[in-house]
């Protein structure tokens, strides 16, 4: 379906607001589940926003900014999964893979600002030397505004200016190609989970992965909260056992293990 000029502007404003949060990483409005929800409201298809948000959120779960790296951009992934699904009339799962180039585009913008903002360090030091807190703040605001405008430009071009190009491109796909993207949409959450495991999985906690897997496979739980509560119980048991062992050995932590 066609995206109107007003919708294009509203989506741009949405991206700019969420981009401020992407810079602060404070309120998590840059996460796909939130961006797609509001994009769905703007497009008048809330259900699509919910579906797109869920599939994009899970796929971009492990792609985190940990340690100062810049991953493919979750904000733009949530935005474009919703917009492409809406404009090309395809499922959210299919649109997820097609949204990737836009997430990469925003990722490059992030890398660019992270590089260019090194140039702000000198002016910031000048202000610090004079204890000029207001001047210091102004530089921070400028950096926020520049970042946000970049997101706005990328979004407006992607959702409004190029929409016929994108939907024309997608509608020329044969069915097997569309279904291929759908399969990819089902597989991509495994990338997010695999990335999480890369950081978290250790030989000592691998058994718990299987416990969680078996609970979810054989108990009809509805959601993952009961597994989380069971995991907290197990973690607490381990914590207390560790403490007790340290006391029994009768010494400092160095004596343990």
């Amino acid at each position: 379906m066609q995206i109107t000029f007003i919708q294009g502007i509203l989506l741009t404003v949405l991206a700019m607001i969420c981009a401020v949060d992407a810079a602060t990483e404070a309120f998590f409005w840059f996460r796909p589940i939130v961006v797609a929800f509001f994009a769905g409201i703007i497009l008048g298809d809330v259900q699509l926003g919910l579906a797109a948000g869920a599939v994009a959120e899970l796929s971009y779960l492990g792609l985190l900014t940990v340690g100062g790296t810049v991953p493919p951009d979750p904000l733009m992934a949530g935005m474009m999964t919703t917009v492409i699904a809406y404009a090309s009339n395809i499922s959210a799962e299919t649109a997820l893979g097609l949204a990737l180039p836009f997430a990469l585009l925003a990722q490059w913008w992030g890398i660019f600002t992270n590089t260019a903002y090194a140039g702000f360090m000198k002016p910031l030091e000048e202000k610090a030397k004079k204890a000029d807190i207001r001047g210091f703040w102004n530089i921070i605001v400028v950096s926020l505004v520049i970042k946000s405008i970049g997101y706005g430009v990328i979004t407006f071009l992607s959702v409004y200016a190029m929409q016929n190009l994108i939907s024309g491109f997608v509608s020329s796909f044969p069915i097997w190609l569309i279904h291929g993207f759908e399969i990819a949409g089902g597989v991509l959450p495994a990338v997010g989970l695999g990335l999480l495991l890369r950081i978290m999985l250790k030989s000592e906690n691998t058994p718990y992965l299987f416990l969680g897997f078996l609970m979810a496979t054989f108990l009809s739980l509805g959601n993952v909260l009961p597994i989380a509560i069971a995991a907290i119980a197990i973690a607490l048991i381990g914590y207390h056992n560790d403490k007790k062992r340290m006391v029994v050995v009768g010494g400092s932590e160095n004596d343990g293990i």
């Binding site: 404070a26 309120f27 998590f28 409005w29 996460r31 589940i33 929800f37 919910l50 579906a51 948000g53 869920a54 959120e57 779960l61 985190l64 990737l100 903002y117 090194a118 702000f120 360090m121 610090a128 204890a131 807190i133 703040w137 921070i140 950096s143 190609l177 279904h179 291929g180 993207f181 399969i183 597989v187 991509l188 495994a190 990338v191 989970l193 695999g194 999480l196 495991l197 890369r198 978290m200 906690n205 992965l209 416990l211 969680g212 897997f213 609970m215 979810a216 496979t217 054989f218 739980l221 959601n223 993952v224 909260l225 597994i227 989380a228 995991a231 973690a235 381990g238 914590y239 932590e253």
Partner: protein, 264 residues
Amino acid sequence: MTVSRNKLTKKDITQMSILSVFEQVPFNFERMQAGGFTYCIAPTLKKIYGDQTDEIADAMMSNMDFINTEPHMATFLMGLIMSLEEAGEDRQMIKNIRAGLFGPLAGLGDAVFWFTLLPISAAICCSMSQQGSILGPILYIVFWGAMAIFPRIWLGQLGYRLGVGAVDTIRENAAAITKGAGILGVMVVGGLIPTYVHFGFADTLYLFDVVSVQGIFDAIIPNLLPLGLVFFIYFLFKKKNMNVIQLILVIILISIGISFLGIM
């Protein structure tokens, strides 16, 4: 010339902690969060030193060194630094504590907020979203809104209260908390696999026209293929150091190939 220092109140630390939502802002690859960190403590430094501009400038400059910690945990360090500044401790020592603690705090914060709370909150809210309920995103917004404020205030107060003792507290508890968060996070990821990874052969695909291919896998254990897939991807990341974007592209290409062959 003697330096006079004003006492901070609980309210000062709370205000600083709320201001710390900007800790991450002029992030750059050179000194990462140095600018944002310094900005967040600047008004509180002014409170301590009043009109003694030189002292404020010195304190600000000593915080302009490289720092990269987890944004929620940064207030702990800020509170700690404030208590040391207020007590007139040696600034070189403050610098050393700052440099020594931001790494462990980042590890702790990543384990708790990004690798545990994020997957759990996302999983719960996404399952609501997929059932078509707007409660999914709304709950997510409310939860992370609360997370953006309350842990920051609590950690800020804690760091301020502990003062120099904080260094030992962190050393004693960081390992235990990280281990516990690891168990929680890994178990939740295990629970997410069956629900969110969809990978199975087409129902119409039969071996020798008699045995359903997917049926064979389901007879061993349901969701075996998604589990294997996650482990395979983990293996590619961990052992082969594969690049994320390459992997995503490969997955899309293979999926298209599979679709073309009609086996899924």
